[in-house]
Amino acid sequence: MSAPAGAFVRASVVASLTAIEGTHGTINAYTAVLADRARARADALDRQGDGGRSLFGVPFAAKNLFDIAGLTTLAGSKIERDAAPALRDAVLIERMEAAGAVLVGALNMDEYAYGFTTENTHYGPTCNPHDPTRTAGGSSGGSGAAVAAGTVPIALASDTNGSIRVPASLCGVFGLKPTFGRLSRRGSYPFVTSLDHLGPLARDVRALALAYDAMQGPDTLDAACAQRAIEPTVARLDDGIGGLRIAVLGGWFEHHAGPDARAAVAMVARALGATTTVDFVAAEAARAAAFLISNAQGAALHLPDLRTRPQDFEPLSCDRFLAGALIPAAWVARAQRVRRVAAAAANALFGDWDVLLAPATPCAAPPLGSEWITIDGRRVAARPNLGVLTQPLSAIGLPVCVAPVFGATRGDDAHLPIGVQLVAAPWREDRVLRVARALEKAGVATVRAP
């Protein structure tokens, strides 16, 4: 593949398509490559010129739960193959392309976003670009791996319990889960509507912020989307951390982190001058509430198929979905009330602190197929516990940016990255992005080629 001379966007898209082709066999990040669409759009953009568009000519890809016109929205499933193709792109894809970006593909994921490892029986596992024997994380494993492998600088994903942040941590890229309700979810396949967030992953903080800014804006057709004006972040990215009060989350977040995760937090805290540890005392309750709500609401969404074709579900999650369908309503109702109490406890912390630090995953990427991981000498089930540090924060909708750290891992994991969560009060994405940028400039948070 080659681009005509002077065709800037065409060259950018061709480079991305070439990288996808070169890594697909080992990484398996993509479930569809939109070569014709991308080339046609690139040529159109080259004819138009950039027109001041912030993402002009930037290739990006989207988790395959985003609607893409003309494609069936799989959401990682076999069952949805029978559905009609989408008639139009998801709102966030439209907004990315309005800013000049070019969609090049759809990305692999855990079935119906219910998982943390992207070990998808129907479409194959997505492998970690830093070590293909390891998981890329999930459920947006394709998004994390596509960015880490260098096929695109930006990927879109969803995060209900950690599905942006776990792959960002394990693949070593930046990821932003915005405040619940910030970005429209219209045109995406739901998992748990009261917890679903959408957001970007990227190779650098500026790209992350550009994508986030481009996707902001109200949408009255998404019931959860806050009708807020756009609050741009890019212009203040380089303001530094002066004036920001930064502390480390202890308690739950220390107890459930292994030594490498704690080392990564210590590196980040040292770089930011954060010396105080505080406790979000409702973290365990928030996590338990999110578990019950996800299990019950996720299952209820699929009840007709669970009744008639359970054998067509992902074998790794079918029994979990079935169990969720049986959870008593009173448990879920109480869990929703506990979320609000937990949010109040977290908001009280933000009276004293602007940004809180926490590990993103208990450990670096485990080997594919791992049933168990060890956290501080305790042997725990791998798949649910990879999200044990992200789940309490998405349960209460806080904005979180994952900063990728190399050099914190040891022994057999020494070649792998691990992420640190930067957490702020609701609607303060600007603060977590500023801190992420400061860490990037200091060389503490970095994205490395595999």
Partner: protein, 66 residues
């Protein structure tokens, strides 16, 4: 709930919902036991009658209905 009570509840509620869990029953019982543990944590969180649900219905758009 004891494991036996959980199994009885799972079997009865599966019938009520029209779900055939037979080939998946061991896994379903394992995950339901995990959900039971999570519920114990949620139950331990004190709530008052005025602690509202995080799910709030906002009747946007109804004003435009004639």
């Amino acid at each position: 709930m004891t494991p036996e009570q959980q199994a009885a509840y799972v079997d009865a509620s599966a019938i009520a919902l029209g779900l055939s869990i037979v080939p998946f029953r061991d896994g379903v019982l394992r995950y339901f036991a995990l959900a039971t543990d999570m519920n114990a944590i949620v139950e331990a969180c004190p709530l008052g009658v005025h602690d509202e649900s995080a799910e709030t219905f906002v009747p946007d758009g109804l004003a435009s209905v004639p």
